[in-house]
Amino acid sequence: MSTSPTLEREGPVTSPGGGGRGSSGAPRRTPGLAALLVALAALLVVAVVTSIVLGSKAIPLGDVLQVLTGHGDGVADRGIVDARVARTLVGVLVGAALAVAGAAMQGLTRNPLADPGLLGVNAGAGLAVVVAIAVFGVGSLSGYVWWAMAGAGLAAVLVHALAGLAGGGVTPLRLTLAGAAVTAGLASWSSGLLVSSKQSFDSFRFWQVGTIGGRGFDLVVTVLPFFGVGLVVVLLAVRRLNALALGDDLARGLGENVLLARATVAVGVAVLCGAATALAGPIGFLGLVVPHVARFVVGPDHRRIIPVCLVAGPTLLLAADTVGRLVAQPSEVQAGIMTAVIGVPVFVVLVRRGRMASL
């Protein structure tokens, strides 16, 4: 059993299916986890269908199927269906990426507050997009993608380098502090550039709220390989994550190359967050909330947490987006705002339960 210092409420691992109760060893694919994953997948399907069908104009399911099977020539709302399908696809990718990245990041930093916002990733992508708009006159979403990705990656490297500068290794606390510092610094440089240029700000203000709408299939295809690479890297490193969650000394004692493990996971996380932010803009709290709920349900083993996040992340993001479309018709409340509205109460509950006192 792993006993990371951040998981004080760890008890016997229980899951709704009943399997996997035990105090020794780590059950691999127990019926409990499988049942849970099937249930979550069913929920995801429901979320996908509602995301396509519902909106400021509801589309009958039959029409959707006609369009999807290639017989949509007679359907009047074909454009809407196409846009909604693209939007849903973006939601699935971004939701999965952020939830998995959040779980990996929390394990990596042993910081229960870890979120893509934390390690400077969102702020790095934000500053890069601001530079692209204000300095290089980039004006389209597909133009932002590469900038956002590069910015996210550079910020992640910078945060790690800074945390390591002090000597004596990269500790979770230093990583967190360096992340917060880089975030604050980059954000204020962004606003410095924006204050003096009204036009740039006009473009940026719509990017920075974070939404999964308005992205075409071509953009999704561009970013798709990065999601793939990031997911594979993190999934392959799951075992290392469990070792890292024990703390550096114990992990080293277990024969883990701590530096390599950290670097691998960090690269995976940076790629995932960079791709998600490039596609949707900064979306907060998803990477914080989903892993916490997953950990609460399936226990501290990352081999169980990450699959759950992979399915639950998209479900939550799509639900948030669909609700955001319905509450503010004919306009919408962007997904990035809805996740904050859902996430903050969860965050406050977590803080009140004392699970985060060990920042």
């Binding site: 000597g167 502090l177 604050a184 204020s188 606003s191 700000f201 006192a357």
Partner: protein, 365 residues
């Protein structure tokens, strides 16, 4: 820091109990105990002079240079026949900005230092936990949807900041780790509020959004005498209260249990936090959040004072930084007037990284 306090306490106890202690040793200990305190006093005095000099620079120099000899007559309200415009420029533009910068800097510096020391967390300054953002969100809403003008804008900001404080206190209170929890709740609320601000930004005209962005960056451009009056009254009322709490700052740093054992009045540190919140809220309402001042003043002052936290030094560092940054933002790049928050942000980010790195190195991040 902690260790040296304990050694001093031990040395004093030793001096009292063991009567056979050499009087030379006692004298040595007494001198050793006084040296850091003297350094703090020296630093505070120097900083006070520097702050005054910064205000003078802000008022006298720039695109329109005013002679030092003309300043007193202008302040007395006399009109100078040979420089007709000087009186107006000083009294309506330069002096208000300098004074607002001074007062806001003092308030940000002091409240930041109070938070960081009491909560024993370098991240716990009002601009990182939600207080500044509470003020910002309320002000942005007032600015864009209610078309707030004049004193209504700071009033709205004040309401927002206080509301966040109440939420933080209500959710975070409890027997143990109250301070830690308050910080964490504050960070969460800050994230929610920045989402709210972003939403408002997309819902309004670009003109209003731009005005809101300037406010959010922190600017002294709206310095008017009523705002300065409000801020000085608040400072005069709150500063003595804060000073009373600051006496126990070094003990509060040791944590709740140890500081109570060593004789610090229980709850005094928490009262200090409430006062610091009020101070930060009033200052933010007047100028908008000025990046990094509250965050960096404390660590900088501490460095100057040789490792001792000093509220007064932190406040003065904040004042110097704000006044000089405003000056630099106005004149550093010709024809470009940058809000003071942009300058402190651009300068503050690398400094902040230095603080993080050295704090990590000293092992007390």
């Amino acid at each position: 820091m902690t260790a040296d306090l304990l050694t001093h306490a031990g040395a004093r106890a030793g001096a009292r109990d063991v009567t056979a202690v050499d009087s030379v040793d006692v004298a040595h200990v007494v001198r050793a105990r006084r040296r850091p305190a003297r350094r703090v006093r020296l630093v505070v005095a120097t900083l006070a002079v520097v702050a005054l000099a910064a205000v003078l620079v802000r008022v006298l120099l720039g695109d329109y240079v005013v002679a030092l000899t003309d300043l007193l007559p202008i302040l007395r309200g006399e009109t100078l026949p040979d420089v007709p415009g000087a009186s107006f420029i000083v009294m309506e533009a330069k002096l208000p900005r300098a004074l607002l910068g001074l007062l806001a800097g003092l308030a940000f510096g002091a409240s930041g230092a109070m938070f960081q020391t009491t909560l024993r967390n370098p991240l716990a300054s009002p601009d990182i936990i939600g207080i500044s953002l509470g003020a910002s969100a309320a002000a942005v809403i007032a600015l864009t949807f209610l078309d707030a003008q004049g004193l209504w804008l700071p009033a709205a900001a004040l309401v927002g900041a206080v509301a966040v404080c109440l939420i933080m206190y209500a959710v975070g209170r409890g027997a143990t780790f109250a301070g830690q929890r308050m910080v964490l709740v504050g960070i969460g609320v800050a994230a929610l509020l920045s989402s709210v601000i972003q939403l408002v930004m997309t819902r309004t005209s670009i003109q209003d959004a731009q005005a809101a962005l300037v406010w959010l960056t922190g600017s002294l451009a709206r310095a008017t005498w009523p705002v300065i009056g409000l801020l000085s009254v608040a400072t005069v009322v709150l500063a003595p209260l804060l000073a009373a709490c600051a006496r126990w700052m070094r003990l509060a740093e040791l944590g709740d249990d140890l500081s109570t054992t060593l004789g610090a009045p229980a709850g005094r540190a928490r009262l200090g936090l409430v006062v610091a919140v009020a101070l930060a809220a009033v200052a933010t309402s007047a100028t908008g959040p000025i990046a990094f001042v509250a965050f960096l003043a404390g660590p900088t002052a501490r460095r100057l004072c040789g490792g001792r936290p000093s509220l007064w030094a932190a406040a003065l560092v904040g004042a110097v930084v704000v006044v000089l940054s405003d000056f630099a933002g106005d004149y550093l790049i010709p024809d470009v007037n940058l809000p003071v928050g942009v300058v402190t942000g651009a300068l503050g980010a690398p400094l902040m990284l230095a603080v993080v790195v050295t704090a990590g190195r000293a092992g007390k991040a």
